[in-house]
Symmetry: C2
Subunit: 213 residues, 2 copies
């Protein structure tokens, strides 16, 4: 099992402007990402090989080694790419509505085998690769950081104390659901989502996530 936590050289063009955005390099990177995902879902991290990614992406093994370094680099870059989507937090008009929608998104993602397989595979890979764990940490930090406008709106509406940490609130909504999914291995349903949102809401209103606490 490789355990070197250093990141591989950044994939993509070595000098800005040498390949246009969305061009051949971007297509190659996406094809490699797709192959990594299907390999993770099919075989898990322990069974994923550079050979598999080469076979399923049409990208030569030599190129994969040169640009991504190893299976660890391939997985970390697939996660980085997953973080480049345009997701924004729900905006329902109330804090309670937003948190319930946020919790329901988690339930919907993992209730759909096609949508849930890749994140589950990344979470599993992080148990065996420091580099995947680093990439996962970066992915979630960026993702939860996007919840700042949700909290700003709630503070403006007088629903939350000023200084509430958006990341802490977003983590509080998600944590009980991921805990059931990947730690206690309990079923996830709308009731669990509702309770997670209500608990986070009560804690946030009580000022638990405000910087003064």
């Amino acid at each position: 099992m490789p355990s070197n936590p250093s990141r591989p050289p950044s994939p993509g063009p070595s000098a800005p402007g040498t390949v246009r955005p969305g061009g051949r390099t971007a297509r190659t990177r996406a094809a490699v990402r797709d192959a990594v995902l299907s390999g993770l879902v099919e075989h898990g991290y322990p069974g994923l090989t550079v050979e598999y990614v080469a076979d399923h992406s049409g990208v030569h093994k030599t190129t994969l080694y040169r640009r991504w370094g190893s299976v660890e680099g391939l997985v970390a870059d697939a996660l980085d790419l997953a973080g480049e989507d345009s997701w924004t937090p729900p905006d329902t008009g109330t804090l309670g509505g937003d948190l319930h929608a946020l919790a329901q998104e988690v339930v919907d993602t993992f209730g759909d085998p096609a949508a849930g397989a890749a994140p589950a595979a990344f979470i599993a890979a992080a148990f065996q690769s420091e580099q995947a764990a680093d990439a996962l940490r970066g992915f979630y930090a960026e993702r939860f950081g996007r919840c700042a406008p949700l909290v700003e709106r709630a503070v403006t509406r007088g629903e939350l104390p000023a200084g509430t940490d958006p990341g802490a609130l977003a983590r509080a909504v998600s944590a009980p659901l991921f805990f059931r999914l990947f730690i206690t291995r309990e079923p996830l349903d709308g009731a669990a989502a509702g309770q997670a949102a209500d608990a986070a809401l009560a804690a946030a209103r009580a000022g638990v996530f405000a910087s003064a606490t």
Copy 2:
């Protein structure tokens, strides 16, 4: 990877009274459990073999296959055995104190490499074995069920609404900590423990975990 979710024949004596409690069978089971734990910690679930367990427990491979069926059965039984300890929830005199102590126990366990390696290895194994996932579900359900007296005391002291679900409250304290450890891969410290306890406390006081909600 074996994926048969059926449980192996129960280990231990085939008829009650054939072997005294704490006798040779119990010692064998404990030796096998210790070998399973060290194998999981050393090699992870993908690298754990019946051969390794035989070598490290001194129990013959044929016996292991006959009584535990497979690596999956060995892991599931080691988890069952882990659930037979005498752990009871903290009793500090206040609900807040109890929840803070509960959260701190999680931080202390996973902050100690010797204590944290085995639970982390079980959680990782559940990604690859349905039988380990079933055993983990059973372990946590039993463990969180032990928190009933903690909630009863708080209800008696007037700190919590009657009908508060002990399992839901205990899960709420633990979830943010396991989420940081195994999903977002963020560091765990006393501040995270305090926030997890305070958030669960605020939600419980608001009645989020009471059956009427």
